[in-house]
Point group: C2
Chain length 405, copies 2
């Protein structure tokens, strides 16, 4: 892995994997535009639907796209190359490596989460075994913000901005027509996105009044009491619930309310209102409160055009660009990690890290970000998240000078 | 109702009713800022939570709010004075009239839908019976776009913009990870908001591929076949469903899937994922398609800060302003109707209409806006709606030049 001045000449292949985000195309375009600057990179291939597209040889020639189109795609949410949920078997990885050889690919980039880093890692090991020089890079993305080595991940800030804005509006809606409102937010194992709902609190008494994260056991018995206490205090209660909340034994709460499973055989959390509806019914039954509503934000959180955090777009573009820079700096492989400079101002820098260091395991909300009562976040979380998400819409409120009766 | 040059001197009271919108505060502030210009209007009271606030004498002094605050509130979604779902009884209306007299109110403005117009109408009749000069105006608002006399209603364009953007993003998400996606949109009796999903189609093959409106009977037996046909054609299918779809007998489809009722005793449509989840389960069971997801957009459609149609904000402000102008032009009452000039350019003007002409009954999607097959909209609808909603985010797409296998 020693650096050399001359890098190998060959083709490049890039693909996208896992759940789309609002900025995953920034990373794609960041990588493609950078690749165009390097003479050692010849053809720039895009595989359709991730590794499935490599296995099927469904490739497109990204070198034939205009800069204008590339820039327009960068600003468009969802994976422009298509995505895939498939976790490759060792046999698949062998196959993929064969295809990369067939198409003369020496530069391989895979945009995705920790599963994608793992896939890139295995393919890279195949190449090493075969003595084939492959410059193999994982480019981070996930709205869940659960990648190790990264201060935060591309896609998270825009998802968090959507969640925060949704809660800002929903809080005002609920203040106008008071009741209990439960909003279910994405995040199977990590609570960062649900926690971002706390950024919506712009005035004293603003919701969310309760925040339930997958990092703390959810107690179905305590839940109605906690809601009742907030209603007593505020006359209403906004609840942020992660779709991945689990009981003390680690069993997903959603599993008690739905039998649907996803392509990995896990209980289907997104694309269903079952968890929110069931929690709402429990509140109605246990507290006697009549106006109880639930919304599940669903796929809008990751693909809503027009709600993009400005820094997120920049950083997502940069990790794509940096991956190509690293890959052309010698016979190297790895992932691009986002580091953050200390201080209130949002400033990031990038580092190459080993593929295995971001692969497989997920990062969780650190204890310092979770309130002692287990159903709120701390100031430390706000200090961490607010600069990442950036400015939110301003909320105007009356001072409400009462007229004497 | 003859016009006089001098109008009566007295206080003003304004209130908001029904479901909040993204621009209902524009109407409130438009009225308040205009009222400040009229010497005959003394105090400017706001009632908290609509007629409930009048009955309870929960009034605030809007004259004590700064112009800066008023302008900030105008740009904030949801009813800043609070709202109410209460339909007053005749006895309530008598009571309300007594309170208006007690507080020296000669100018009364009620912002809301057709129920609010009806309330204003009854209160106005009480005043007439008592020989009390009350300048009583209804100010239109509803995301449902279902008020008679109006080309379109304040709040609709912003709700439609949210729906269109949501479908644009969700279509790209579904193109990346293909399957069947069902999105449930607000609208109990009128399909305008669901129809606005069609504005999301910016390229050939884009979703929504099926649009189900309350104006046409929904056939649970045909539904899986229609979805299957679209999947055969597009490899995927995005479905827009109005929460208010009903069967041939007029029974709400949602009623078969939930027992929850709202404050009017109607089946609870919003704040529940039951309809979408049930339709998704039917598709899974009847077609064998495995990736079927449903999202219910819920309250975000009406209160999401940052997604506001520019024309909607202007028109909402204008109807508040115009109501005060009419009310101070003589001993008049009525509602402000939005008319539209012919032509592609979006241009509106306002007319005073009788309260009873917008009260009670709702407006539906005209037949000319609904496709013959009953599950799509026509070009006439797009021509009607696109200028109202205004520009949407641009979508970038690759031309996808295939690499030879």
């Amino acid at each position: 892995m020693a650096k050399k001045k001359q890098t190998i000449v060959g083709n490049m292949l890039i693909a996208q994997s896992g759940g789309p985000t609002a900025v995953i195309n920034q990373s794609l375009v960041g990588a493609v535009l950078q690749a165009k600057k390097h003479k050692e990179i010849k053809k720039i291939y895009g595989a359709l639907h991730g590794i499935q597209g490599i296995l099927n040889e469904d490739l497109i020639d990204l070198g034939r796209e205009t800069v204008e189109t590339l820039k327009a795609v960068a600003q468009t949410p969802s994976s422009a190359l298509g995505s895939v949920r498939k976790k490759p078997t060792p046999a698949d990885c062998e196959q993929i490596f064969t295809k990369l050889q067939k198409y003369g690919v020496r530069y391989f980039f895979y945009i995705g989460g920790n599963d994608s880093a793992e896939t890139a890692h295995i393919i890279n090991e195949e190449a090493k075994k075969a003595g084939y020089e492959l410059h193999c890079f994982h480019i981070p993305k996930t709205i869940d913000n659960d990648l190790r080595e990264n201060d935060h991940t591309p896609g998270f800030a825009s998802g968090a901005k959507f969640v925060a804005q949704a809660f800002m509006g929903d809080d005002l809606d609920n203040a106008a027509l008071p009741g209990v409102k439960i909003n279910v937010v994405m995040g199977r194992h990590a609570g960062f996105l649900t926690a971002a709902s706390a950024l919506a609190r712009t005035y004293p008494g603003a919701g969310p009044h309760l925040i339930y994260l997958p990092e703390r056991p959810f107690d179905l018995k305590k839940f109605p009491q906690q809601v009742k206490a907030m209603v007593a205090q505020h006359g209403r209660c906004i609840v942020a619930v992660s779709e991945g909340i689990s009981d003390a034994s680690g069993q997903a709460i959603a599993a008690s309310f739905t039998k649907e499973v996803d392509s990995h055989g896990n209980v289907q959390l997104s694309g269903s209102g079952a968890l929110g509806d069931s929690l709402a019914n429990i509140i109605k039954a246990e507290t006697g409160i009549t106006r109880v509503r639930a919304d599940t934000f669903g796929y809008l959180q990751r693909s809503f055009p027009g709600v993009v955090a400005a820094n997120d777009a920049k950083v997502a573009f940069a990790v794509g660009r940096e991956a190509v820079k690293y890959a052309t700096s010698g016979d190297v492989d790895g992932s691009v990690a986002i580091r953050r400079k200390k201080g209130k101002k949002y400033q990031v820098y990038f580092e190459r890290v080993e593929l295995r260091s971001v692969a497989k395991e997920t990062r969780h909300m650190p204890d310092a970000f979770i309130a002692a009562n287990g159903c709120d976040v701390t100031k430390a979380f706000i200090d961490y998240a607010a600069p990442i998400v950036g400015p939110l819409p301003k909320i105007g409120r009356f001072k409400r000078v009462k007229v004497k009766k």
